[in-house]
Amino acid sequence: MKLEEIIRPIERDEHPAEVKPMELFIRPEGPLKLDLRELWSYRELFYFFAWRDIKVRYKQTALGALWAMFAPFVTVVVFTVFFNKVAHIKSPNAIPYAIFTYTGLLFWNFFAAALASTSNSMMTNKSVISKIYFPRLIAPFSATIVNMVDFCFAFVLYAALFLFYGVRPGLAGVALLLPMLALTFLAATGLGLFFGALNVRYRDVQFVVPYLISTLLFLTPVIYPITQVPARFQWVLYLNPMTGIIQAMRAGTLHQGAIPWSMFCISLTSIVCMLVFGVYYFLRQERSFADYI
């Protein structure tokens, strides 16, 4: 079913005087439309959804936000012991394995958490979606903000690892940090929008996503260096958006040669495709959400 609505919002507070009131036209059919102006007018709701998630996240926990550092700390210790010491996976250029793997893990964890939150965002906001109108895109995007806060805590641990091992981070890496974070966000939301919309109709998705995430970890060079994969197959790994992001970060911060831009473009293309398709699928489905949720 294709449906459309045309809205010309006005800011009531900004035009208190006599203004021609906005007109809301509700009808069943029409082309898809991504209304950025409307999204912007709902920015406060975006902020409050994110604020709610952050407030609620560590309520009634003794360690509070320290969990955001403790959990990756445990993971990096486990990885170092098992993959480095036991399984003898070596990091290139004599970089301590803990820093090598954590460069990947830092971004991977954000990707995994953001993908899980966006995929589930329609379900967590179910009661609101069935009772009130708002541009549904607000929910999946705001759901990732709390994961970004966790990323910041996890980043403190990253800095601590550099100090502990006495490694100097490369400047290129510092410059790349924010753009790569933004790309991770887009990759996770692109995929998450598709799964989130699909989850409204098929609750199977909520079982698929966790497996997808744990499988995808092994298809991403987090634990192992990409050089362990035969060179002619490496491009396949780059179809995974996180491969490009993590390889770029490693090259930038850990002095591992030039950033593999040509390969990176494969990942970038894949991010763009996922995002465009995710948004398209989400918008196509969003009008029927309340009927199925």
């Binding site: 906005m22 509700i26 609620v56 009634q60 009772k131 009130i132 009927d291």
Partner: protein
């Protein structure tokens, strides 16, 4: 004048699939079907699909400043209409134009988070309803005062009583100032005093130029608030007109349904393993069913039924409603601590009461029956009956019809506090 709300042939269809195993359409089924017949629209195997028109070609115009009521029985399409106008769901056919900022209140406390405090929820709920943060900050004290929960403002709402929760939620909603306000049944929650306060607030809204679309089962609030109303039945528009006229029509249709043969009624819910066939009042041991009783009479409410054999753990309920749709009393076997056991193939439930405590007037009886906790039959407005004036109090007096409702045996006294030695503080509260 251009109407502020223009509804034009609005229709909404839901496709209901009767699957052998009810539940969500699973991804597997759909994938299998798409693969099997890639070029045809996919229909889940073994499922028959039925299109139900929840709303069928409804049109009307509402002018600015009107409080417009929408009434109708369960499943009449009232909520679907409001959901479409609130843009939660979309119409299948037709269109609607709303000229102005729309605020909708289909539930009080939408998006309240139990872990957040009252203060935090005011802001969150406000944002969800579309009130700007700046506006909430400005009117914060007013909202808190309206809610009467000052002392618990910094307590997580999960610790609130349900009354406090509703008051806080309504306080936020009451400060929503849209051009068109869409309200569904939210006035039916909260205690009577708070309901009255909320009604007053809505009356204010209309005088300030806000247009209100109101759905309620409470005919009294529709009658006191609305100037015009619309009557929906089975998704179709029956009539639009002045409120009193529409309410009359609604009640007369409800009693027409009640006069129909109960066994043949199709507007019932439940799995049908038991079906009520007739119901009425009976006084005396071998008396006939009747639809007339007298205040203060000892009598039995009787409901006859047919049922499948082997229906166990049966629980029956009868509820008495006023003509205005307000529930006055419930007779329930489980509540009374009576186990009815298994239902016979043909039988009747009887509930005996002493001194019928109903004031003169017309009443409806709802019948409800469960077996092992599952609803087997549920008929609303199953029968109608009249209560005639009777000497309930033994004084020949009865409350005037406007004070209607319930009659309660009562004892009075007037004591002289000086001679009985009571301390003056005992009586200062009056």
């Amino acid at each position: 004048m251009t109407p502020i709300v223009e509804i034009n042939g609005l229709s909404k269809a839901y496709v209901i699939s009767h699957q052998p195993k009810a539940g969500y359409g699973s991804l597997r089924d759909d994938i299998v079907n798409i693969l099997r017949r890639p070029l045809q629209p996919h229909i889940t195997q073994g499922a028959s699909r039925e299109t139900v028109w929840a709303l069928d070609d409804v049109s009307c115009d509402v002018q600015q400043g009107e409080i417009f009521g929408v009434i109708g029985g369960n499943g009449a399409g009232k909520s679907t209409l409001l959901k479409i106008l609130s843009r939660i769901t979309y119409p299948t056919k037709g269109h609607a134009i709303l000229r102005g900022r729309v605020g909708s209140l289909l539930e009080v406390g939408t998006g309240f988070h139990p872990e957040l405090t009252g203060r935090e929820n005011i802001f969150l709920n406000g944002a969800i309803l579309g009130i700007r943060k700046q506006e909430i900050t400005r009117r914060f004290d007013e909202i808190v005062a309206f809610s009467e929960i000052e002392r618990f403002l910094d307590t997580p709402v999960k610790f609130y009583s349900s009354g406090m929760y509703v008051r806080l939620a309504f306080a936020v909603a009451a400060h929503l100032e849209p051009d068109v306000l869409i309200v569904d049944e939210v006035l039916s929650v909260g205690d009577a005093r708070f309901q009255k306060k909320s009604l007053g607030k809505m009356g204010d809204a209309a005088t300030s130029g806000t247009t209100v679309l109101l759905v309620s089962h409470n005919m009294a609030s529709i009658e006191s608030l609305c100037t015009r109303a619309m009557f929906l039945e089975h998704g179709q528009l029956v009539e639009i007109g002045p409120t009193t006229k529409i309410i009359e029509k609604y009640l007369s249709i409800a009693s027409t349904a009640a006069s129909q043969n109960l066994a043949e009624r199709t507007d019932r819910q439940g799995d049908g393993r038991l079906r009520f066939t007739s119901a009425g009042l009976r006084s005396g041991e071998r008396g006939q069913y009747s639809d007339v009783a007298q205040c203060g009479q000892d009598l039995e409410f009787v409901a006859a039924f047919t049922s499948d054999s082997g229906l166990k753990h049966v629980n029956a309920s009868m509820a008495v409603y006023t003509a205005a749709g307000q529930c006055l009393m419930v007779l329930d076997s489980e509540m009374a601590g009576i186990s009815l056991g298994s239902a016979p193939r043909h039988g009747r439930f009887s509930c005996r009461i002493e001194r019928l405590p109903l004031a003169p007037g017309q009443y409806f009886l709802n019948l409800f029956c469960t077996a092992n906790g599952e609803i087997v039959d549920w008929v609303q407005n199953a029968v109608t009956f009249h209560v005639e004036a009777g000497d309930f109090f033994g004084t020949g007096k009865l409350p005037s019809s406007s004070h209607g409702g319930l009659l309660v045996p009562q004892e009075w006294s007037c004591d002289d506090d000086d001679s009985s030695g009571a301390r003056p503080s005992d009586v200062t509260s009056g």
